[in-house]
Symmetry: C2
Subunit: 200 residues, 2 copies
């Protein structure tokens, strides 16, 4: 299993540096310092490696064990914005998921994984009275993942993701009044504005 | 110029059907029913064709000539959701912009083009008193384009874009209270919910 993880991380690095089409199995084997035999024992092809990087994009993250509501969801959103600058497995997985059409894939599951993660926080938020009546949790989770995905793409193109935390702050700033009661909006707008200014 | 437009539309069709890496100049020439000479007179390469499709993605749209505020912005958003099902130049341009990393491009301008379009509507909305004081128009335009982009990607993967209008309705439903005064929110929530049920 140790070898598999070494190869997976080497693949993420190569995909991140060269893109999928500019990457090759031999580059990945060299980076991993392993043999062709070891690599083909774990992965069938370059496509198979890309799928594994997409599926396991969150493996190196330190996500909260228990959902805890809106504040934690915002904190996770800003944590992901920071991780996208440094965590190569996450960054390569997210990029490959966005560009998956060029790999001949059509896989919704990476987005569904994040929507489930976000929805669990929204369910905790509902239990804590942090959401307005009538807010549909599944729809809101999908909107959040969509807005996050687009923010990540635009931030990558414009600033190499340097302005992603600020974009996430803006997103929450505009969304909060549509989903939370006024006292929660005030408290979390102060929180998100403050958090946006400092590294997580 | 007529030849150039024929080739551009043939390229959009081929990119839409085969993806960038599965497309070739010869497939595009065949589809356009033109000669290699005519094609290279207008476009240097497959990459050059892809850039033109990205840049000219909005050419076949029937967009409003004058900005007119939030209602028109919502109408344009829903119109784009419908066009993405049928307008091959738009669809190929949007998909290539999303997957541009695989083409070796890093071009923010297609997103900037939409942000400018949306911001002009927001400026008209501000003049009409449809926005809350303090709403930052550039930031809101960027959030809207980001949310639209991510919604389009997720809708494409999950339903072949069939649920995109409903996703745009959800987005506006959640966003309106953070950007507009209560009477405008009520009116536009009714409008967006109604529009989401019918083709534009």
């Amino acid at each position: 299993m140790r070898t598999r993880e070494t190869i997976l991380r080497a693949a993420a690095q190569i995909f991140d540096e060269y893109g999928f089409s500019g990457s090759s199995v031999s580059k990945i084997i060299n980076r991993a310092g392993t043999t062709q035999g070891a690599m083909y024992f774990h992965f069938k092809s370059k496509e198979d490696l890309a799928k594994a990087v997409i599926d396991e994009q969150a493996s190196d993250l330190n996500l909260p064990e228990q959902p805890d509501g809106l504040r934690q969801l915002i904190r996770v959103n800003l944590y992901l914005a920071d991780e996208l600058q440094e965590n190569v497995l996450l960054r390569a997985g997210v990029t490959l998921a966005v560009e998956q059409g060029q790999l001949g894939l059509r896989d919704f599951s990476p987005y569904e994984m994040w929507a489930e993660q976000f929805r669990a926080e929204l369910e905790a938020a509902r239990r804590a009275g942090e959401l307005l009546d009538g807010v549909a949790l599944e729809e809101l989770a999908q909107v959040l993942v969509a807005a996050y995905t687009g923010s990540q793409i635009m931030s990558h193109l414009r600033t190499g993701r340097a302005d992603l935390p600020e974009r996430i702050v803006q997103l929450w700033w505009f969304l909060l009044p549509g989903i939370a009661p006024a006292p929660v909006v005030d408290e979390l707008r102060a929180f998100v504005r403050e958090r946006g200014k400092q590294p997580a």
